[in-house]
């Protein structure tokens, strides 16, 4: 899958070390975002030229070491061993020197040409930390360059050092960690097995790989490791454990011993000063003030997604409507016009309408993440999330689910482990999103108008119950999914609390824009295709007989109407009736009829069934589809004729379709069913396979049906409805 035309230089570093800032500073923001083959991790890269060398600069995901236990972590190792990798820039946060240099040490050990960029030198100096970069450079046997990525300081020196490294002859690394003799013996035993696995690599590389295997293999899900290597590693571990040795500890502590000595030699701390980050934290994670600030920040995000995005969403919807009207006026009526207006333009509108919320959410999350507060959000709320088997970082995506599941699913990217990410994205579509609200309003206005329960209006109680139910069901679903579908160790919560920093507006914007672009292209294609498919389903086949019947009716009206106004009124009504009749005759309409036996037990009839099918495009489409089904024409949730039509609808036995009980059943169905193809599309995109969106759709639909069944049948048993 990896066909690269030019050599690559990797940018590696710990999370929060300023790696992306440095990458953007070096590449000038001209990055290209793709995907690593087989895993859903963004591959951000940019073309660069250094002297006579053309290469691709690749921003690796943040990591603490090269040790890997999942395919996602394996990426970095794979990238390193790719033959076109010419070198690595290892970005190290100078304020957490040893931890950052641990990664640098591993890289140097691996034999690849490395340039160490000591980032945030200004912060280190403010802390009173003095670093002798020349001495570090000598000890590591590779250039160590002080930089301040945010101020673009030291970039020229960094590029010059990189250029030299790329041209110099590749030697055996000078750096040599003193591992215990027992361990060296294990490595020597393992090396021949590695040599069989990777005969093409040089002999000194076998030793590096043996160390990597000893540390990485076991309880892992790595791909492409031969069984022979696994068995060899396992028996070494077992033999060592029998003698009271711990191989992991031996490797890691030997490296840190080397690092501690090197850092001790090259750095010294002059009267350490307490950082202002520490002082901010005293407020932001304070038992009372911390929770209050937390609530305020979360409410602000919620408000922005809910209310702030509304005018933009409205504008996009109006623009879509305007385009549809204009196109309808230009093109002759017919299937082509319908396809373009109802299929393509509506589909593009369905995609673009998400743009404001996606941009806003990612600007917010970017700000929270880059400022360091997102880690504190996770810290403050983890206790609650832990109870249902979620990670503290799942909170922001879950909360965003109240506004819209699409950006919320995309926001799960902040969660590191794939399993935790999947559980979150499979549960959060149960949060009652803003598109469900119009449906609730229509139902409440239809069946609960003017009624009250004690001091409260019945509608308000119904709405409040829906939102409460959605939170409870979401958390329960997460707990169940975690225990059944995605079993495994509970998410561990080892999270660095980075110092507070003021985020760069430019980087926030670049990242939010990248996310949006990826959504528009990848998920957008699926949404567009589904919109067209759904349009076809609700438009074909066209009945000639109906067309002729209504043409004749119109002709009759033309002749018999006494006034222009009466005529216009009658024709408009006929048009709406024809649309309704054609819809009933379409594949979707017939399907609605066909499933009516299944809908009766939950209190719906075929017309609501057609509405539900139409609502798959987006929940609020339920209302306009019902408008067409009932022959009313354009309708919204406040539409009086639609409410009346719903109230007047009767089952075959003459009983009303919409009762308070069937209304509750309908709201519960909409709350729980995955009536949203955009969610399906974005889960496909974010999970990397069709397996998960299919599972999501199936479990939510079954859950919705069963819950509605319980509500309707249970209610009837209790004598309601």
């Amino acid at each position: 899958m990896t066909h690269k035309v030019s050599p690559q230089v990797l940018v590696a570093g710990n999370p929060n070390c300023g790696k992306s800032t440095l990458f953007n500073a070096l590449s000038g923001g001209s990055a290209h975002v793709g995907n690593y083959p087989g895993v859903t991790v963004d591959r951000t890269s940019a073309r660069m030229r250094l002297g006579a060398q053309d290469f691709e600069l690749v921003d690796l995901p943040g990591m603490y070491s090269l040790t890997a236990s999942s395919p996602e972590e394996q990426l970095a190792v794979n990238a390193l061993t790719e033959s076109d990798t010419r070198g690595v820039i290892c970005v190290v946060d100078s304020t957490t020197l040893e931890r950052g240099l641990y990664l640098a040490l591993q890289l140097v050990e691996s034999g690849v040409p490395v340039v160490v960029a000591l980032n945030m030198m200004d912060s280190a100096e403010r802390m009173g930390l003095h670093i002798d970069t020349d001495r570090l450079s000598e000890l590591f046997g590779t250039p160590v360059i002080p930089v301040v990525a945010t101020k673009r300081r030291g970039l020229d020196a960094l590029l010059a050092a990189l250029g030299e490294q790329l041209e110099s002859v590749h030697e055996t690394p000078k750096l040599r960690v003193a591992y215990p003799a027992d361990l060296e013996a294990n490595v020597a035993n393992l090396a021949p097995v590695i040599a069989q696995w990777r005969p093409e690599t040089a002999a000194n590389q076998h030793r590096v790989f043996a160390l990597w295997c000893l540390l990485s293999l076991g309880e892992d899900s790595l791909r492409g490791v031969p069984d022979a290597v696994r068995h060899a590693v396992q028996s070494i571990h077992e033999a060592a454990a029998a003698r009271g040795r711990n191989i992991d500890l031996e490797i890691i502590s030997s490296r840190y011993a080397w690092l501690d000595e090197a850092v001790g030699e090259a750095c010294f701390m002059q009267d350490p000063r307490p950082s202002w980050s520490e002082r901010i934290d005293r407020v932001l994670t304070h038992p009372i003030a911390g929770l209050v600030i937390f609530a305020v920040v979360m409410f602000a995000i919620f408000e922005a997604l809910f209310a702030g995005a509304e005018p933009l969403i409205g504008a996009i919807e109006r623009a879509t409507g305007f385009m549809q009207a204009q196109t309808a006026a230009i093109l002759p009526a017919g299937v082509l016009q319908d396809l373009i207006v109802e299929g393509i333009i509506a589909g593009v509108g369905n995609v673009v309408v998400f743009a404001p919320q996606i941009l806003m959410l990612f600007l917010f999350i970017g700000f929270l993440e880059d400022s360091g507060y997102l880690a504190r959000v996770a810290f403050v709320i983890d206790r609650v999330m832990k109870a249902v088997g979620l990670h503290g970082k799942a909170f922001v995506p879950l909360l965003s689910g109240f506004a819209c599941a699409v950006p919320a699913v995309m926001a799960t990217r902040t969660i590191e482990r794939r399993r935790d990410r999947l559980v979150t994205m499979l549960a959060l579509p149960l949060m009652s999103c803003s598109a469900r609200l119009p449906v609730y309003i229509l139902v409440v206005g239809t069946v609960f108008a003017g009624q009250s329960l004690g001091w409260f209006s019945a509608g308000a109680v119904a709405l409040f119950s829906m939102y409460t139910l959605s939170v409870l069901v979401t958390l329960a679903a997460a707990a169940v999914i975690r225990r059944t579908v995605l079993p495994g160790p509970a998410p561990t919560f080892v999270l660095e609390m980075p110092p507070y920093r003021w985020p760069s507006a430019q980087i926030l914007w670049i990242n939010a824009w990248r996310r949006l672009r990826i959504f528009l292209v990848d998920a957008g294609t699926i949404i567009l295709a589904m919109t067209i498919l759904l349009w076809a389903l609700l438009s074909f086949p066209k009945s000639e007989a109906l067309t002729e019947h209504y043409a004749a009716e119109r002709a009759r009206v033309e002749q018999t109407a006494s006034s222009e106004m009466e005529k216009a009124h009658a024709i408009q009504s006929l048009d709406a009736q024809e649309a309704g009749a054609q819809l009933a005759n379409s594949l979707g309409g017939r399907f609605g009829h066909a499933i009516e036996p299944a809908l009766r037990p939950i209190g719906f009839d075929w017309q609501i069934g057609v509405g539900i099918i139409g609502a798959f495009a987006a929940r609020e489409v339920f209302i306009s589809t019902l408008g067409v089904v009932f022959g009313i024409g354009e309708a919204d949730e406040e539409n009086k004729p639609l409410r009346q039509a719903l109230r007047d609808a009767r089952h075959a036995d003459g009983s009303p379709v919409m009762t308070p009980l069937s209304g509750i059943s309908l709201m519960v169905f909409f709350l729980l069913a995955c009536q949203c193809m955009s969610t399906i599309a974005v889960v496909k995109k974010e999970s990397g396979s069709w397996k998960w969106p299919v599972f999501l759709f199936s479990y939510m639909t079954v859950l919705a049906y069963l819950a509605s069944l319980a509500v309707y049948q249970g209610g009837q048993l209790l004598g309601y409805g």
Binding site: Y64, R99, L249, D382, P489, F493, V494, P498
Partner: protein, 79 residues
């Protein structure tokens, strides 16, 4: 029974004795620089009581109590 991280009073410095959080997590913690002999202290407890925040090698890390209980420490000032 060795005291663990959860037994440390806030601000009390201690030395890590051993980490026994299962292979994957122990390895992760060790690679982040938490090794036997490393100085560590608890700086804060989350408002709801869990997780806790520790300070080690000049950075802050939050871990859940369940994991912290498996990190044995030797408080400074005790023999």
């Amino acid at each position: 029974m060795k005291p663990s991280l959860v037994d440390l009073p806030l601000g009390q410095h201690a030395e890590i004795v051993s980490i026994d959080c299962g292979r994957r997590l122990s390895r992760r913690l060790m690679e982040m620089g938490l090794l036997p002999g490393t100085r560590i202290r608890v700086v804060r407890v989350a408002p709801l009581g869990d997780p806790i925040e520790v300070r080690v090698r000049n950075y802050s890390l939050s871990v859940r109590r369940a994991e912290a209980a498996k990190i044995a420490v030797n408080p400074e000032g005790t023999a």
